[in-house]
């Protein structure tokens, strides 16, 4: 419908189009209002801060691109935290998603006390993060930790889980996998929706378990898998609370991720200007990664995909 009505700014949009537009905006208005009130201003403000020297105690002072210049040229810590973060994201996101999927897959089969098992696997993710940190810090402790106590009893050398630069990231990954409960629940929901009839048809055709997993389950769940992955990446780039609680970025800055470094600059070094610049760099990195991920998984792009 491209009848041009005099007076309309956009030739080509019919009255119907305008009405649809209005309806769309109307329903989306809660989000739009929130966006304008609670997102636009903080975003703009943080962009402004990134171009200033700002310690939160005195008014910001304009410095132009100085913060960005510092980050990309003289700041050696930035390179370190960026590589820590990339390492973290590259490992923890896929591992987390894979383990959540496998757990869900296992818990979707016919087993005794299935509800109980599901609750057990889900439980870790509802514990508040601070408690998770406290519990694991004790468990992994070199001196008082239960895990090392067992190793010692077996006359094995203890493992400095959180006190060695080499072991700290793997330990964090371990905790991350432990807390995949919510992701697992989502996968469970998805697995439920794979029609049993497909599996039945496959059995009739003589497929074994592995073939079913690879040819039915995974493809049918692939959209969820992809997006879980994307979201895990996004969350991974902003990973902060657990490393801060457990190791404060140590030992030897092995767990100093970019969000930790950002926090340090913002609240401890009184350098909100640089912290804002770091945040915007992070923002751009995340958007780029997400975009690349979507591009690279062409079959599963869904943004325009409403049902046929």
């Amino acid at each position: 419908m491209s009848s041009t009505i005099p007076g309309l700014k956009r030739p080509g949009m019919s009255l119907l189009d305008w009405r649809r537009e209005a309806m769309g905006y109307l329903f989306a208005s809660p989000w739009l209002i929130g966006f304008l009130m609670f997102t636009i201003y903080p975003l703009a403000a943080s962009l402004y801060y990134s171009l200033t020297r700002y310690d939160l105690l005195r008014p910001p002072v304009w410095t132009g691109l100085a913060n960005y210049q510092e980050i990309f040229t003289t700041d050696t810590t930035f390179r370190l935290v960026m590589s820590n973060t990339l390492f973290w994201v590259g490992l923890s996101a896929p591992l987390g998603v894979i383990s959540a999927f496998l757990m869900a897959f296992m818990l979707n089969t016919r087993i005794v006390a299935r509800s109980l098992f599901r609750s057990i696997f889900f439980f870790p993710s509802i514990v508040p993060v601070v408690v998770t940190a406290m519990v694991w810090q004790f468990l992994l402790n070199v001196q008082y930790g239960a895990i090392n106590a067992s190793l010692q009893a077996l006359r094995l050398p203890v493992i400095p889980f959180l006190s060695s630069p080499v072991w700290v990231k793997p330990s964090l990954i371990l905790i991350q996998i432990w807390a995949q409960g919510t992701a697992m629940v989502i996968f469970l929901a998805t697995l439920q929706d794979v029609p049993r009839s497909l599996y039945e048809a496959a059995t009739v055709d003589g497929a074994n378990e592995v073939q079913k997993l690879l040819n039915i389950t995974i493809p049918m769940c692939s959209p969820v898998i992809l997006f879980n992955l994307v979201m895990a990446f996004i969350a991974g780039f902003q990973y902060f609370t657990l490393p801060w609680l457990l190791t404060q970025g140590g030992p030897n800055r092995a767990s100093e991720f970019i969000a930790v470094y950002l926090y340090r600059n913002a609240f401890l070094f009184l350098n909100m200007g640089k912290a804002s610049a770091l945040a915007w760099v992070l923002f751009v990195v995340i958007i780029t990664f997400t975009f690349l991920l979507f591009k690279g998984s062409g079959r599963f792009v869904f943004y325009s995909g409403e049902s046929s």
Binding site: T182, A183, V224, M231, Q238, L268
Partner: protein, 489 residues
């Protein structure tokens, strides 16, 4: 792919939906404002153990005479005041008791004080940025940092007319620490007594074949003790250590607790007159090297494990557990040890902190500690100041000492305290007369940055990743640049 069929696209969408909820689920933890709010590690502002702050010890008779003339001049309805601190638990509970005392009622009148604990940087900074600070604050930020950046209220005029807060009642070093560039911004209160002592567990020392009656005086001697006190089991696991120099006061580099190593080595790392850092020197390099020696004996990973053993970042926890034989710590260590492990307290010996060979015989002490400060944007300076005055009274100090073991920087009050209340406390009391060198606070206003540099570079040195000369050069460069960036240089 067969996109035409509804079931297929349903499943895909369900997947997306699921993904979305995963996002929702896992993202909050990382993305939502869960952000900060974790206790900054031991080194951050105040956390240096919000040690008990001894509210100023009230002196003997002063308050009774003082209060009437102070004339709180309260209106019929009192003012509501907010006082934020990083301490929590018993400190806040102590205020419940303090508010019942006569002195409180006399001084505060109808004003209502709310004490909010567990307030750290992420609570203070947003409030300050929004122009909405509390009326009073203490131990949640580095005082000098805030003084230099103009968010604290100068109180010279209020002190001048005060009958309770008087310069001569305080230990000079503490009084001076409340000044920045000639103006006074706080009053020493809550917890502001001495910081420096070498503490050791005499029974562990004896078991190691050393003589607990002749403590080490220089770093070389301490290192020798450390080597003999560090023990491993047959599997190579650490069972106990001598000293971790970066632990507690030994590793502090901030105005509240001092730069212990610098004082021990005898140099000042920042000069306010020239506005320059002096870190690129032999003494600083020697500090890194000497401290590294201790770590080499233990093994960096093992030492880090031992440190995290200190009960999730607390101070001195491993000392109470008798897996650490020595620690460099302040006067609060007496009460803590007594509370946590009386049997360890009984065998603890307190002596002078170690110094370099060149400075053998120097008995050093640092008058560090906390202040109570008024925020500029508060609307009730006169009333808020009364809280600072109240903290100097005897009742306040008694209660804080009772509940938290805090002591104020008021010699007259200290005379009313039994110096044998906890084992070792007498050492600190005697220091008042016996110390030969009282260290001065270094007015560095990028406290956390400098402390962080000290920790990270020190770690690079003891892990063998960096040479100490390179480390001090880098520290000088980084601190100078950061200092320039603040615009206060």
């Amino acid at each position: 792919m067969v996109r035409k069929f509804n079931r297929r696209s349903f499943l895909r969408s369900a997947g997306l939906a699921a993904a979305g909820s995963v996002l929702a689920a896992c993202a909050p933890a990382a993305v939502q404002p869960q952000v900060p709010s974790q206790a900054p590690s031991t080194q951050t502002a105040a956390p240096k153990e919000a040690t008990p702050t001894q509210a100023s010890s009230t002196q003997t008779a002063a308050p009774k005479e003082a209060t009437p003339t102070i004339a709180p001049a309260t209106s019929a309805e009192g003012i509501a005041l907010q006082y934020w601190v990083a301490w929590s638990g018993d400190y806040v509970k102590a205020w419940d008791q303090m508010q019942k005392t006569d002195e409180y009622k006399e001084i505060m009148g109808n004003n209502v004080l709310t004490v909010k604990g567990s307030m750290y940087a992420e609570a203070f900074l947003p409030a300050l940025a929004a122009g909405n600070p509390p009326d009073l604050g203490g131990n949640g930020f580095y005082y000098l940092d805030y003084m230099a950046r103009g968010v604290l209220q100068p109180i010279d005029d209020l002190v001048a007319i005060s009958k309770i807060v008087k310069k001569e009642d305080f230990i000079p070093g503490n009084w001076e620490s409340s000044f920045y560039k000639g103006a006074q911004y706080g009053v020493p209160a809550n917890e502001c007594f001495e910081r420096d002592a070498l503490v050791y567990n005499s029974s562990m020392v004896e078991k190691a074949g050393l003589d607990p009656k002749t403590p080490p005086v220089t770093w070389a001697e301490v290192l020798d003790w450390h080597k003999k006190l560090t023990k491993f089991d047959s599997a190579g696991n650490l069972t106990q250590i001598g000293l971790d120099p970066y632990d507690s006061i030994g590793g502090s580099m901030n105005p509240i607790d001092g730069f212990f190593a610098g004082e021990s080595w005898g140099f000042t790392y920042f000069d306010q007159a020239t506005s320059k850092f002096d870190l690129d020197n032999d003494k600083m390099a020697n500090i890194f090297d000497t401290y590294a020696e201790f770590y080499k004996v233990v093994g960096p990973d093992k030492m880090a494990g031992m440190r995290s053993v200190e009960g999730q970042g607390t101070w001195g926890g491993s000392y109470f557990a008798a897996v650490q034989a020595m620690v460099i710590d302040g006067y609060w260590h007496c009460q803590w040890t007594e509370q946590a492990k009386p049997e360890v307290a009984k065998v603890s010996v307190y002596t002078w902190a170690p110094v370099t060979e060149a400075r053998r015989g120097v008995k050093m002490q640092y008058p560090g500690g906390h202040l109570i400060c008024l925020f500029k944007d508060s609307k009730h300076h006169t009333e808020a100041f009364k809280v600072a005055e109240f903290l100097q009274t005897k009742s306040a100090c008694d209660i804080l000492f009772d509940l938290r073991g805090f002591l104020p920087a008021r010699p007259a009050y200290l005379k009313t305290v039994d110096k044998y209340t906890f084992p070792g406390l007498d050492f600190f009391f005697n220091s008042l007369d016996e110390a030969t060198e009282w260290e001065k606070m270094v007015p560095c206003v990028i406290a956390d940055f400098v402390q962080n540099q000290f920790n990270t570079l020190g770690e690079s040195v003891y892990r063998g990743n960096m040479d100490s000369k390179a480390a001090v050069a880098q520290m000088q460069k980084a601190c100078t640049e950061e200092w320039q960036k603040t615009g206060l240089a």
